[in-house]
């Protein structure tokens, strides 16, 4: 969900301050992505490989699964690709290792400089939104590495998605360097560099392809799945409260079975929404979620017995309310991972969705309590 502190709303972006790069004990050549050191007017700087290796792929997979995600970073500073000289272009990027990898693998056969900003291990777009890929950091880093002693020209190339954080005219005012915004995607950089630093319209547009959408799922799911133990506990308590003898293992199994449709409703609100996004009617994410949720609730109550729910109208109604609420909320939450939703839009959606979900949940609870009272009295 796009709250004021989100963009990539998941814990990813709340990177910790640990591992301050300057305090890093390793020498440049200890890093597997460094080819060798290169002598420059500002001293030795690392020359990097433009091919990613097995370890990089493994690291990328781990990060996508949410492992070590907030600390997958490289040292800020100046790097060389190929054999750059004072006339070579300068590319600016973030110090998230995944970003660095996706950039360098597009740069084979290039001779250029890469200026890595300290974005606390966060990708360019999110960092630009959060203020770490910023005018101040860029100016600071240009001065810190003494960039003007390395190049004799006056242009630095920024990724277009860094633009929310950087005021090009301010950079120019403070450093005398001109900011040129490159393409959104690193894969277009060779074309951009060959085209006198002019981006075509197709290089300027951000996409949200099926692959993009599915890539963010594991981390989304990981966050959402944390609610499953809570749901299980609630179901367990609900099932414990019943007249007659209590059989704990039976209640446990029943609760586990009850949990299945709920797990599916969460999966639909994330995985389902992500995969089917362009094909589900409505622009509103809450509405998309409601539609998926209703479809699933209809199916789930059709097989009520399979999931070990009592065949009772009150419980059927409560399940419909709960399942659709969960899917709708999960779908709304997914806006934080998209590339096209606006904060005003999300706030508008929340304004009518959150009260509706609250009412539906309370109504569902009321039905469940009524059912229990009837069990004990009837």
């Amino acid at each position: 969900m796009k709250k004021e502190n989100s963009c990539c709303s998941t814990p990813c972006c709340d990177a910790t301050e640990s591992l301050e790069p300057s305090a890093h004990p390793n020498r440049n050549t200890d890093f597997p992505w460094v080819l060798e050191e290169m002598d420059t007017p500002i001293g030795k700087i690392p020359k990097i490989k433009t091919q990613t290796e097995f370890a990089d792929t493994l690291g990328a997979i781990a990060v996508r699964l949410g492992i070590n995600r907030s600390n997958y970073r490289i040292n800020p500073g100046l790097y060389a690709v190929g054999n750059p000289n004072d006339l070579s272009p300068v590319l600016v990027t973030a110090n998230y290792k995944l970003t660095f990898d996706s950039l360098r693998k597009e740069l084979s056969k290039q001779n250029l400089w890469i200026l890595v900003l300290d974005t606390k291990g966060i990708n360019v777009w999110c960092a630009a939104g959060k203020g770490t890929f910023s005018t101040d950091e860029l100016i600071k880093r240009i001065n810190l590495v003494q960039l003007k002693n390395v190049i004799s020209h006056k242009t630095i190339i920024l990724p277009q998605l860094g633009a929310p954080g950087v005021a090009a005219h301010e950079v120019s005012k403070h450093t005398g360097l001109k900011v040129s915004y490159g393409p959104v995607y690193a894969r277009d950089l060779p074309r951009f560099l060959n085209n006198e630093l002019k981006a075509t319209t197709d290089m300027r547009k951000v996409h949200f392809t099926l692959k993009n959408r599915l890539t963010v799922i594991p981390v989304e799911l990981k966050v959402v799945l944390k609610v499953l133990p809570i749901l299980f506990t609630l179901l367990f308590i609900f099932n414990l409260i019943s007249p007659g003898e209590i059989n704990f293992s039976r209640v446990f199994l029943q609760s586990a079975n009850n949990l299945i449709p709920y797990a599916i409703s969460i999966a639909l609100g994330t995985l389902g929404i992500a995969a089917l996004l362009p094909y589900i009617p409505f622009r509103s994410f809450a509405a998309k979620g409601l539609l998926l949720g209703l479809a699933w609730a209809a199916l789930a109550v059709r097989y009520h017995g399979t999931f070990n729910f009592p065949e009772n109208t009150l419980i059927v109604a409560a399940n419909i309310l709960f399942l659709t609420s969960i899917t709708s909320f999960s779908a709304l939450n997914f806006t934080g991972s998209t590339t096209y939703t606006s904060i005003s839009g999300v706030q508008k959606e929340m304004l009518y969705t959150i009260p509706l979900i609250a009412v539906a949940t309370l109504l569902g609870l009321g039905l469940v309590i009524t059912y229990k009272i009837m069990l004990f009295t009837g």
């Binding site: 796009k2 709250k3 004021e4 502190n5 989100s6 963009c7 990539c8 777009w125 999110c126 630009a128 939104g129 959060k130 277009q160 998605l161 633009a163 929310p164 954080g165 950087v166 005021a167 090009a168 005219h169 915004y181 959104v184 981006a199 319209t201 300027r204 547009k205 951000v206 996409h207 949200f208 392809t209 996004l277 362009p278 622009r283 509103s284 590339t339 096209y340 939703t341 606006s342 904060i343 005003s344 839009g345 999300v346 508008k348 959606e349």
Partner: protein
């Protein structure tokens, strides 16, 4: 691709009288919201705006305003 978010929600505003025609907004917008017309910027596709704030931040004439979130 047809992914468009809610209608009439964006807070994006352009003050054409302040525009100096530098074209930077057309370069930084990731959803191609702006076009140039008679050397002035024009909002051509307002619905596509996601309020990232890139245009407003980079407008040297402060001709664009938008309430942007953090991403």
């Amino acid at each position: 691709m047809g992914l468009v978010y809610l209608k009439d929600v964006t807070t994006l505003t352009l003050h054409p009288e302040k525009c100096i025609g530098c074209e930077l907004c057309t370069q930084v917008c990731p959803h191609l919201v702006f076009t140039m017309e008679n050397k002035k910027a024009r909002i051509a596709n307002k619905e596509a705006c996601m309020e990232c704030g890139a245009c407003a931040t980079n407008c040297p004439a402060a001709a664009i305003s938008v309430h942007s979130g953090v991403g």
